[in-house]
């Protein structure tokens, strides 16, 4: 069963990566909204926002990266759904391959596609004036947090990918994920929010993730934020993976 797992997964990942490199729609549509938000908040609304940071774009970017990941995983669900719909998933499953590699290929493709999108958004932010003196280690830390967050959301995306009955249904799950950063410290400091909203904002995963990334990029001590962020990501990953495998096994027992 596991004898061919690595080879089969590599072949199938190569296949779905070609879908992304041949038509760059996925990368473009994934990055267009985060970049639009960057433009809107930096050049239109940003002047009126008191973030307590010298440069608003430096304050804003971590939240925009979270939005990039959230909009990227809707394509993960979409690609998986299309493979199920077209019957090609069943073709792979009826072949003598390591079966789970069909699913893992989608997970790895999701990580690669979102990594590309994040790089595009960071480059756009650099053009708009984002600057960071963070060293290699801090950047690796940022990549690590975002990678873990992407993996968690990817497994979350596998669930609608496997269960949806329409294309819209497969990708709609990500809308709340995209909105979640708005009720967090991503755009404005939570101190200005009224009691209950502030309580929610300060205790939801995006705030911890955003604060940790922001501290790393600003070369400030990350404090406990990074552990809270990693805790959220790991917890979400375990729960999402568990549910996704449950759905997968039920469907392809």
């Amino acid at each position: 069963m596991t004898t061919h797992f690595v080879g089969d997964t590599a072949l199938l990942t190569g296949r779905s990566l070609r879908h992304i490199t041949r038509s760059l729609d996925t990368i473009i549509t994934t990055t267009i909204m985060p970049i639009a938000f960057l433009l809107l908040f930096v050049f239109v609304l940003g002047g009126a926002i008191t973030s307590g940071s010298d440069s608003y774009i430096d304050y804003l970017l971590p939240g925009i990266l979270v939005i990039t990941v959230a909009s990227g995983v809707s394509y993960t669900a979409y690609r998986l759904f299309l493979d199920l719909q077209s019957g090609i998933f069943e073709r792979f499953h009826s072949m003598p391959i390591a079966r789970s590699s069909a699913l893992w290929a989608h997970v790895l493709t999701s990580l690669a596609a979102i990594a590309m999108s994040v790089v595009v958004v960071v480059l756009a932010a650099l053009v708009m004036g984002f600057r960071s003196g963070a060293g290699v280690l801090a950047w690796l830390g940022v990549a690590g947090i975002l990678g873990l967050f992407t993996l968690a959301l990817t497994w979350l995306a596998v669930i609608p990918g496997l269960t949806a009955t329409s294309v819209d249904g497969a990708s709609a799950f990500s809308y709340p994920l995209i909105l979640l950063p708005f009720i967090s410290s991503a755009f404005v400091p939570t101190e200005t929010m009224p009691g209950p909203v502030r309580a929610f904002a300060e205790n939801q995963p995006v705030t911890a993730i955003v604060d940790a990334i922001r501290a790393l990029l600003a070369q400030q001590p990350v404090g406990t934020d990074i552990w809270v962020a990693l805790g959220w990501c790991l917890g979400l990953l375990l729960v999402a993976y568990g549910f996704a495998m449950l759905v997968y096994r039920r469907r392809f027992a």
């Binding site: 089969d8 072949l11 019957g87």
Partner: protein, 258 residues
């Protein structure tokens, strides 16, 4: 464990929630023969194929393919079969050649590119080999689909409604491909809702209705079963096809008939 039948099914049952689709299906398919499973939409043909292709677990009964039990020796079954589903399961974004190479590599064969080349030639796809499959016609997609199923020469091939949605000419092409397969010793189980398809291709025909095989025999045996009320629930193929094929310049009669 091995026996003479390429496919041997006994008392197969399967329900989806309240719906009792299969209520005890028995099938024997001889090696190297073409076996047609005939039935109207929703009769459970695809369910049978999915169980035989190890994609679905039966609730009761046994099924052996190429001497291997589909439930306990699924891996061996998958080595012995290939499945062409109802909808051409090809990758639209890849080229025809890349689709074939991918499947050959997934089957862990050496010389994947040469295998792809041979199949492209055999199914008249060489000219379109490096085009994206999304530009292919329905018939070309189906030919590619079937050629992908032949990689690694599996001894048993399942074709689930191989000609549904095809125009008459493409249908004849698929029929010829199926005949060639059986001539080469491959066992073919095909499902169809078209009477004439079963008539043209199959050595034996089984009619699946109400979750059971209600008739099973050669065409000659089935024809002896009068009154024709026996087959009334199968859709009739319009004879307009003959007219159409004559008009567009193809002969609808079988090539092996005088």
């Amino acid at each position: 464990m091995r026996n003479d039948a390429a496919i041997r099914v006994r008392g197969l049952e399967k329900s989806f929630d309240e719906l009792h689709v299969l209520r005890g299906v028995d099938i024997d398919v001889d090696r190297g023969s073409i076996f047609a499973l005939l039935g109207s939409n929703g009769a459970g043909k695809t369910t049978v194929v999915r169980i035989l292709a190890t994609l679905l677990k039966a609730d009761a009964g046994t099924a052996e393919v190429h001497g291997f039990d589909v439930a306990t020796q699924a891996g061996d079954v998958r080595e012995s079969i290939s499945l062409t589903g109802q909808f051409a399961a090809v990758d639209d974004v890849l080229t025809g050649r890349e689709n074939l190479v991918l499947v050959a590599r997934l089957r862990h064969l050496t010389g994947a590119r040469a295998i792809a080349e041979q199949l492209l030639a055999r199914f008249q796809l060489t000219d379109a080999a490096d085009r994206k499959v999304s530009t292919y016609s329905g018939g070309m997609r189906r030919r590619l689909d079937i050629s992908m199923s032949l990689i690694g020469d599996p001894p048993v091939v399942f074709l689930d409604e191989p000609t549904t949605g095809l125009d008459p000419e493409a249908r004849l092409e698929v029929w010829q491909a199926v005949r060639d397969l059986a001539a080469g010793g491959t066992t073919v189980l095909l499902t169809t809702q078209y009477l004439d398809e079963a008539e043209q291709l199959a050595d034996r025909i089984a009619i699946l209705h109400g979750g059971r095989i209600i008739e099973n025999g050669t065409l000659a045996e089935l024809k002896r079963l009068l009154p024709p009320a026996k087959v009334e629930y199968v859709e009739k193929q319009p004879t307009l096809e003959d007219v159409f094929l004559r008009l567009v310049g193809r002969d609808a009669t079988r090539e092996d008939q005088p």
